[in-house]
Amino acid sequence: MNGGLRGAAWLLAAWCATTPAFAQDSERSRYYIQQMIELAATNDEAGVTAMQRMLEQEPRPAPRDPGAARAALQRGQAALRTDDLNAALTAFQQASRDDPGNADAVNHLGLVERKLGRLPDAERDLQRALALEPSRASAWFQLAQVYGLSQDGRRARGALANTYRFAQNPMRAEEILRNIAESEASDTLRTAAVETLRLYRLPVEVVIVPPLPANPGIVPLRTAPASGQRP
């Protein structure tokens, strides 16, 4: 089956599965995002793309006061640069209220919530940001950290896989993943990064090494094993 047919199959499958189940747009969007995570964790490119297309067809919330939202966004970014997380939180909340369709504002809100350890809020708002812009790698990365901190390894891996998938510079994303895989204190996130790198067949040197690698120092022998010795 080619990619087009596969994608169409996924779109139809998603429609079949979701149409009767959800009453609200946000619920449906969250479903698609969770599907993107699940499918990314198994490297199902066509499935991820199909869900991304579904998300992109969802209606966007109308802005209430775009000018005020932009100003609040700038205030939040300035506060974030000085590490004033509470001020940043207030500003980004304001920005996302004034323009709920502004992915940048909602993404920053999720970021600050994650930094403040408000993980359920962060998960909700990062999913909102991804519903507005499913290919936003930085939101996937933040979401992966939320799942990592919540000890949800599978979803952390799926979110990291999407981080890499949507990264503008894959080599940079690869190094970020290697950095997490080799230096991150959280077992869940570190393992998720290792698994993501392996998912994409990218090299990684894990910190704890089960198993130890095969001995490279042995000299090859030139005779065949005796027949009938297979275990």
Partner: protein
């Protein structure tokens, strides 16, 4: 609704998984490989064509150079002080901050090369050269990567590009001559020599006599295990010859003759010596003498050739040997040598979690180790002794203490400070009373002497073999 679900199931089934498609890196790599291939045949025009194509590819988005600069400097300083691990940390951060700086990417690639992480080094150097195709130093390093990976042809092509793009060609020729003469890896020497030959872009007159040192086609040096690099394997025509027959044990014996052996492993009648027999006053010496006949070297064979080796321990009088699952998981055939006795082996049982396997052998006249099923905080601080075959160094004996108890993914481990290396896997971790308290399994690459052994308690609990065939004890660290 039922029909809708059926349709859904069918569609999901049809959709199936797809691998991720070729990405940006593959595109960059294609061009770099073409430049290497054209360079290897000294096709100047071809090299320039692909260089121009690289120049026309879209550039990555610029990063934060101001943030990257101090990190880069810090990494460079560490690299100059020969501290590649510290350099890796700083240069990686610099690269993440600004992935468009070829200098940073190139130094990161070099750091990976210094750390022996050839795959990462290759990727970073290819990326660097895509950013700056005329960066001679990165071509030189990429040549070393390919050479160390056993690919003399690509090494030669990359070295030739290093020379082609060098601003100071005499200096680069000197570097190539040095590589051709002194690099410890055959294929690096061969690649550099090839790049220096007449007909390459490097001037023939500069080809040094030192190239004669060791051509890649020479047979690999025997004896020391470090001499058997992957490149040596490919260079050895007999290594890839079709099987000529012969017994597995003969293979084992010949293989063992090539490994570094301890100066004196033969203890007279050691096979029949009871565990408690004292050999000397030194506890370590006694433990070594009593344990070496029960400690095994495990050689695995795959596709008719020796694949890897590990360690194991005799656990019963009828020849059962325990090792790690990962030691034998890819083996077609197995041979073991416990003390001075050798046998073929079959896998009796295996388990990935915990990482254990039970082998059956014909070594049935030696008492096995006493297994110690204790797993409690009281173990922490006790002396332990490890015997194994790290890097083929048969019967290596090391000591340490139990540093902690760790449970990883539901498996109980002992953290030990005794040094272990590849080849120790599956070997015994022994208390002062001669009982086995753990099976050496893995280590933390960072830090020092942070190693882990599966607790013997886990082996006993695993049901890998009949408890009635074990000799168990709960003694804790008393002198024999």
């Amino acid at each position: 609704m039922t029909s809708r679900l059926a349709l859904l199931a069918l569609l999901v089934l049809l959709a199936g998984p797809l691998p991720a498609d070729a990405g940006q890196y593959e595109t960059l790599d294609y061009h770099i490989q073409q430049m290497i291939a054209q360079s290897a045949v000294n096709d100047e025009a071809g090299v320039q064509t692909f260089r121009e194509q690289l120049d026309n590819l879209p550039r990555p988005e610029a990063g934060d150079a101001a943030q990257a600069q101090p990190l880069f400097q810090q990494g460079l300083d560490s690299l100059n002080r020969n501290q590649p691990k510290e350099a890796l940390s700083a240069l990686r951060q610099a690269f993440i901050a600004d992935p468009t700086d070829a200098e940073t990417a190139g130094q990161l690639g070099l750091t990976y090369l210094r750390l022996g992480r050839l795959k990462e080094a290759e990727r970073l150097l290819v990326y660097t050269l895509a950013l700056a195709p005329a960066r001679s130093a990165s071509w030189l390093h990429l040549g070393q990567v390919y050479g160390q990976g056993g690919d003399a042809t690509r090494a030669a092509g990359a070295f030739a590009n290093a020379y082609r793009f060098a601003q100071d060609r005499p200096r680069l020729a000197g570097q190539l001559r040095q590589l051709a003469a002194t690099d410890p890896v055959d294929t690096v020497r061969a690649g550099a020599a090839q790049a220096l030959r007449p007909g390459q872009s490097t001037p023939a007159s500069q080809a040094p006599p030192a190239v004669k040192a060791t051509p890649a086609a020479d047979p690999p040096a025997p004896a020391a295990p470090t001499a058997a690099s992957p490149s040596a394997r490919t260079a050895d025509p007999a290594a890839n010859a079709p099987p000529t027959g012969g017994a597995l044990l003969d293979s084992l014996r010949r293989g063992l003759s090539n490994l570094a052996k301890p100066a004196n492993t033969s203890v007279p009648n050691a096979d029949l010596r009871p565990m408690s027999t004292a050999v000397g006053d030194n506890a370590g010496q006694q433990i070594y003498q009593n344990s070496i006949p029960r400690t095994c070297l495990i050689v695995t064979f795959r596709n008719g050739k020796t694949d890897s080796l590990g360690s194991g321990l005799l656990v019963s009088a009828d020849g059962l040997v325990v090792t790690n699952h990962h030691v034998i998981e890819n083996a077609d055939n197995l041979a073991v040598k416990c003390g001075e006795r050798e046998s073929v082996a079959r896998v009796g049982k295996r388990s990935k979690e915990p990482d254990l396997a039970l082998l059956t052998t014909t070594l049935n006249r030696v008492d096995g180790f006493v297994l110690n099923g204790t797993y409690s905080q009281e173990l922490i601080g006790l002396d332990v002794f490890v015997i194994g075959n790290p890097y083929g160094l048969e019967g290596t004996f090391s000591t340490g203490v139990i540093s902690g108890l760790r449970e990883i993914d539901g498996v109980r481990y002992l953290q030990i400070s005794a040094p272990i290396s590849p080849g120790n896997s599956g070997g015994p971790v022994i208390l002062r009373d001669g009982s086995v308290i753990g099976i050496a399994t893995m280590g933390l690459k960072k830090g020092q002497n942070l190693n882990f052994a599966i607790a013997t308690a886990e082996l006993i609990r695993s049901g890998l073999f009949d408890p009635s065939r074990m000799k168990t004890s709960a003694a804790r660290g008393k002198s024999p």
